[in-house]
Amino acid sequence: MSHTLAEHQPGFVPTADPSVKIAVKGLDFYYGDFQALTDITCDIKDNSVTAFIGPSGCGKSTFLRCFNRMNDLIIGTKVEGLITLDGQDIYAPGVDPVDLRRRIGMIFQQPNPFPMSIYDNVAYGPRLHGMKKKAELDEVVETSLKRANLWKEVKDILGRGGLTLSGGQQQRLCIARVLAVQPDVLLMDEPCSAIDPTSVQKIEDLMAELKSSVTIIIVTHNMQQAARVSDETAFFLQEVMGEPAMLVEFGRTADIFTSPKDKRTEDYITGRFG
């Protein structure tokens, strides 16, 4: 746990459960006048995979982007309520969003390697944070590519452009690039929607391996994927068009997919609507 420092900082909010990595309490989110999310409260457990599911437009990606303050980049957005990372309010004054985004990395639907070599893609973050020695960078690049299960495929072509790789490899390169700065949390916004099934399998395997060291949150439209990869599942729903979306049910993935408690969850996952 990395509570030690944070406990002495302003904005520290103690949580009762030390296994909670991210705690969300009474979160409302607005795009200008439009309220997109209402009163969301949930705990994301450390070293686990949490899946966000729900129909299009239910706010799950919006919610995901609250965790690394990506929504700050959109003019007119507003967050109310509380999100803590290791007990620290991430919206407290003085929190550096850039540092936050190092601790909470993000993977997008479309792989987006930088137009530079495989090596430089992975070394980009560490260099930005001041790492200069080649031996150190070499080690970070190798370790990160190994953690992303890409090392064997690219170890002899590190100088080649990242964009020359296949889609699935590019996505794993992006994961390696995020891992290089040693994040605590990995946000994945439909990471497998644009890649082939074999690569999907590799990324799903990777998630299972990574969760021992990184807390993972994945937004996915693929319910089978949510069932396969996640420990906990959150179901979001915008019941009425124009009204804010809400968190309908949150629980163990095995429970959600065998015995959901809420009829709306049941109707959605069994394909009765959505």
Binding site: M223, Q224, A227, F257, T258, S259, P260, T265, E266, I269, T270, G271, R272, F273
Partner: protein
């Protein structure tokens, strides 16, 4: 949404209910064959078993196929899994019915004390009642009725014990093979009802998603 899938689930459940009705028939006819000493009827029940087994196997195969191809979850998954499970019970209940028919075949050549036939008939009627209630609970997803099956089963167990006591009163000259066939038939009837009670527990799970602790089984 998912119209074909819904239809497949509906068809599967209908087929399972049909098999259940055949089980009711097998049980009723085998008891009748036993009580009336009707060998032809017993043979008819025995001959029908292969077909029943095939139908049960087809349910299991079909529900596995749907699970593999349609990725059912929640109540759909519970329904499919339970239908496969229930068809396995039906297959065993059918076998028990056949065993009663075989007992009928073995005992038909001689006539024992009427009390014992009356007891078997009474037991058969009670089992019939449990089976009908079980099928209705399955058809209507009726939780209350599913939970009642355990109570309906109790007098059947008592009758089995009474059957034992009556046998003890038999005179020595009674045919031992005849007597043991009759007591086995009574035992098979009691087992058929136990399967129905297990199916009731499964219906409860199917509807609620919760496994309820099974009631303590009384040793016969």
């Amino acid at each position: 949404m998912r119209e074909n899938f819904r239809k497949e689930l509906k068809d599967l459940k209908r087929d399972v209910l049909d098999i259940g009705r055949s089980i009711v028939d097998v049980t009723r006819l085998s008891v009748k064959a036993l009580v009336d000493g009707d060998v032809d009827l017993a043979e008819q029940v025995i001959a029908g078993d292969d077909d029943l087994d095939q139908r049960c196997l087809a349910i299991e195969e079909h529900s596995l196929e749907v699970i593999a191809t349609q990725f059912p979850v929640a109540r759909d998954l519970r329904l499919l899994h339970s239908l496969g499970y229930i068809s396995m019970h039906f297959e065993r209940m059918g076998d028990l019915g056949v065993n009663i028919a075989k007992a009928a075949r073995r005992t038909a050549s001689r006539r024992g004390p009427q009390t014992l036939y009356d007891l078997i008939q009474a037991q058969g009627n009670l089992v019939h009642r449990v089976l009908e209630a079980m099928l209705e609970a399955l058809e209507k997803n009726d939780l209350e009725l599913a939970r009642k099956l355990q109570d309906l089963d109790e007098p059947i167990d008592h009758l089995f014990k009474q059957f034992f006591r009556e046998l003890a009163r038999l005179q020595e000259e009674e045919d031992i093979e005849w007597a043991s066939s009759m007591v086995l038939a009574s035992r098979y009837l009691e087992r058929i009802a136990d399967h129905a009670v297990d199916i009731g527990d499964r219906i409860t799970y199917m509807v609620t998603g919760q496994f309820e602790a099974p009631a303590e089984e009384e040793e016969a």
